[in-house]
Assembly symmetry: D2
Amino acid sequence: MHSKPALRIGLIGTGFMGKSHVFGITVAERVFDLPYRLELACIADVSESLARRAAETFDFSGWTDDWRTMIDDPEIDLVDITAPNAFHKEMALAAIAAGKHVYCEKPLAPSAEDAAEMAAAAQAGGVKTQVGFNYLCNPMFTCAREMITAGELGEIRCYRGVHAEDYMSDPESPWTWRHDPAGGGALSDLGSHALATAEFLAGPVVQVLGDSFTVIRERPDGQGGTRKVEVDDVTRASLRFENGATGSVEANWIATGRKMQHEFEVYGSKGALAFSQERFSELRFYSMNDPTGRQGFRTIVAGPEHAPYGRFCVAPGHQLGFNDLKAIEVQGFVEAIAGSRPEPFGFAAGQRIQLLVDRIHDSARDHGWVDVA
Amino acid sequence: MHSKPALRIGLIGTGFMGKSHVFGITVAERVFDLPYRLELACIADVSESLARRAAETFDFSGWTDDWRTMIDDPEIDLVDITAPNAFHKEMALAAIAAGKHVYCEKPLAPSAEDAAEMAAAAQAGGVKTQVGFNYLCNPMFTCAREMITAGELGEIRCYRGVHAEDYMSDPESPWTWRHDPAGGGALSDLGSHALATAEFLAGPVVQVLGDSFTVIRERPDGQGGTRKVEVDDVTRASLRFENGATGSVEANWIATGRKMQHEFEVYGSKGALAFSQERFSELRFYSMNDPTGRQGFRTIVAGPEHAPYGRFCVAPGHQLGFNDLKAIEVQGFVEAIAGSRPEPFGFAAGQRIQLLVDRIHDSARDHGWVDVA
Amino acid sequence: MHSKPALRIGLIGTGFMGKSHVFGITVAERVFDLPYRLELACIADVSESLARRAAETFDFSGWTDDWRTMIDDPEIDLVDITAPNAFHKEMALAAIAAGKHVYCEKPLAPSAEDAAEMAAAAQAGGVKTQVGFNYLCNPMFTCAREMITAGELGEIRCYRGVHAEDYMSDPESPWTWRHDPAGGGALSDLGSHALATAEFLAGPVVQVLGDSFTVIRERPDGQGGTRKVEVDDVTRASLRFENGATGSVEANWIATGRKMQHEFEVYGSKGALAFSQERFSELRFYSMNDPTGRQGFRTIVAGPEHAPYGRFCVAPGHQLGFNDLKAIEVQGFVEAIAGSRPEPFGFAAGQRIQLLVDRIHDSARDHGWVDVA
Amino acid sequence: MHSKPALRIGLIGTGFMGKSHVFGITVAERVFDLPYRLELACIADVSESLARRAAETFDFSGWTDDWRTMIDDPEIDLVDITAPNAFHKEMALAAIAAGKHVYCEKPLAPSAEDAAEMAAAAQAGGVKTQVGFNYLCNPMFTCAREMITAGELGEIRCYRGVHAEDYMSDPESPWTWRHDPAGGGALSDLGSHALATAEFLAGPVVQVLGDSFTVIRERPDGQGGTRKVEVDDVTRASLRFENGATGSVEANWIATGRKMQHEFEVYGSKGALAFSQERFSELRFYSMNDPTGRQGFRTIVAGPEHAPYGRFCVAPGHQLGFNDLKAIEVQGFVEAIAGSRPEPFGFAAGQRIQLLVDRIHDSARDHGWVDVA
């Protein structure tokens, strides 16, 4: 019955993001008319028992505790990496070398240099890649960008972005790989989202002025002692955009009470947009075209007129969920693999975000503006 | 690899709700550890080509243009009905007669009498049933009910419920089966949700005082003429609850601008709750236990502490989508079939809602309070 | 220096509303260019010491413990009544008989008959009158009515109004005159506001279907015993408007957590309005004239383009306060006395509200629709 | 009848802030039990006709076109300066020299040096002074500071402040004194508010990293040509607080659609606060003391338990207005003059804000962190 070719997926990692990818793939398969049939071919984890259990739970055809074997398996077309950041580079380069398309969770790599190497390899290898910046897949983000591009806000002048959560707010929360200076910290973990959104909406950043701060300077090491924290809890940066606009972003993972404060405000000469991921089906729009005495921020609610919302639900206002954004992300990548559209957010884009992260850290360390090449 | 028994599903209908059921089943299969493996065995539609295309799109093993054959097929365990309301009774009775579990979209039937017949047949047939009141599956609804049961609001005194949308707001929108007095109208279509929520939270209603109104009195008949509309555009009712509380509901499908105004407010002697489906991951809670000068409605955001949110996402505030609520609905039914919990919202519950709808219509017609037996 | 004639005010009552009137008069005098100079001539209270203290605090020229003397004093032009409801009629009739303009707090009288007698007397006496429905003085109400009148919402179809607070929520709160069936209760106290707003926006009500309920059936009598409560804690009513629209209001003074839930929603064929007194400087407007994909409720914020906001502040968004609404109320009355505009809300209007209150009580008692003559 | 001594006020300026001061004085006189009777003795404006008209409108006993004469008049106790910024210093020094108390609109002076000279003169002269930072007078600000001081948020870690409006958004809006580098610009005009709020809540700032930007680089000069704009349209700064917290402020006067975005968020180890002047009667509070599954930002609404709200209104939720905040400001100053409390925001405090403004400008110019002595 299936006339579509199969795209056989090998997933590395069985944790939070591993699950989220499975959910996204599953929903994408049902909701969209994809160019491939997505096959959950194999799942890899360092623990064989975890891998086997995940395979059963999520209906993968196979499992392994050796990701290298899986990557080299000719029965795998796409390698999907949700392992800890430190392994991204090694895994991705191996997959590219094996000629596989690669889907990698963010951040792509601990440094812009590593990310550049990965992007170059993907380019040279002729494979398609994707980094998991799923907030950008929100139909209301697409709507926002279309509005900006169409000039509904006029000339873009100012941008304000935040990504704040509170999962590192507790000083008793132990030291983990997220606190490793090689790739960890609030800017890398959350600020990367804020930066991706900023460039998605307002275009390339050309200069940054950074400020990083560590509030909780040591954390339990899990062995009765403590370990020094050398990464940022809060980083903010002033930005200059290529289009002449000015802006800022803040990354904060100790913002008590905040679960998902991914926010942006864009101010143009004719209008403005405001958004919070806390209510991600809503986009607030102010237009100076509205009559005097009738102006105000209006709340646009996601509906079928904001593609691809209509694939999920024909009625407006019913709301998509987090895993639905992941499904849209999967759709974009699969269509890019089929060649019907450019990569939505390939390794080169991931490298770009990493570059911004590095430059902001450079600026924070050196106390001055830094150009982003 | 699959050690679980299969639950083979035959779905009737390929429209909006048919899709939504498929999405819900698919997500439930991945997200939950269900007692059965869910098999999309067959899909039925009066149009064979639609049925075949849906089977391909959604990965059903088979398709048919004859739902009766499917219902009688011993390879089908569960019949899932998303056909127009007018067919619910005939299909459900046939499925029950064939010993199948039945999942039926709301409203269960055009009248309480029909619904009672269906509920009795299910009871007699020993099959499990479910009516699709998916709003009740929201973790924040569960949370709200737990709070009420635990006495966090004190004695419940007042209830206010609304379900308003605007999809019938345009007078040029043509006459459809939703405008047929046998089962159609705003109260039946939307008010049934408001009533289900009211009883879910505040317990049984014992008396109703109804008021129905038709604003758009004729609609295009699709053949160049118009057809008289005999159903309600707006119905509201005062309610008395068994627990002594007073309340109201409003159903409205011409509320211009409203896409999903399913709202409730519950006032108790010690606190209050307020909710809107427009932001269904949020529950607002006022507690008189908070210190003086620090009281206020707080916005509780859905997170892993509100089961089963954590099955979808380990981090709070990421939001579930409409189809995720459907997945929770599927989970509940499948577990009831396995006998591990009571039916979450079986035909008897559906009959109850239909009874309330009928009594409110009776009251509106006769202009006085009506007891709900 | 003062070329304006004086309007000499005699105020009865030194409580909450007495103060509020003084504040309103004081602000109005400064903010507006009124046709009269407002003189705080005399203040009356049954307690001479309270009267004297209030005179000193609020800068009245005189005080008295005998309101009759004050009313008859030829040096008084306007009698302002903020005494308990039970005295309104006697005081107002005396003032009218003495040829004084009368400003009376709401409700005008305990029954429509009494109110009619007062309105007739005012009419016959040729004096100007005002009842204190200050919510109507909000610039955003004026804006809302202008929008409706101008057709920006199209044909008005549905109306939903609420006035809920929680000041009677505590069962230990003692029996007061507000619990006296002659004029007390939630509908009279709060519902009167909701009804005034309903007719202000959607025009005359022609039929009502009422439902009244008493939750707290006895209250402490202040002498160690309890006293039976015979007034409503919650009343709701379905409404039919002369223009063909359908609507509802709810009055509720036991709505735990609500401090000022005076809300309305108006749905028309082309747009909608939503408002809450909790944020009374904001009016939410949905317009179907907005482009597809850009529609949504917009929040219009009070500014100089919403007269008379600009008299208080030249910059938008700075917000008026409750006492500022009272000042606008004073302005309207003073201009009516000068003959430059009709009475904004005279005794006839107050009588009208009382009629609606009575008819809703009639309906609630007799369980059926009641015409409003 | 008046037993209180008089405080005779001479007001300079008849514009927006002049009016606002009159309204504030008038309301304060009525609402509070002040230690003095406030007399509107004289109003000065360079235009005699404007001065006379304002005297009549606002009920001043006298008027003048010569502010120097007024300042020297022994019948004046308090000089209230609402003239353009450029005159503040000269007027204030003259008033201090004449032994008068001085109430001066913000900003105190174009530079920290000038402000220091004024503060020193006031100190030496033994007069009481006040700078008009009225946002700080909001009862919800007092509440916020009390919560922070009482440890309800735990250790303060992060602060985010914004003051954005759009009154300079239009490039056709002409060059005015607000665009003069000597004291003008968004940071001086709006950022000063944000800085005052930041220190009010989180304590002294010890280091700043500034970024200033001019979007609209020339404006009409009112004579057919254009004039270069040398002040900032947008300035943001990273901050370090003495208590170890990190923070930021943004000042922006071209934020299209924003009328009053004076916002703060304070994050502590046990809780958080969020506030927007757009809804200044509301304070949002998150407390980790709330039970699991019941945590969330709660909206505390201003009421009598938040002094001095109860002076304006005995019922909660009725809302104060902008001019009411000014009245509270007047109350504080008058009580300071009577010696019953310290100056709420004297010239030394105004000097402090000016110092912060200057240091942020220094930092923006020199591209590095700057200590605030």
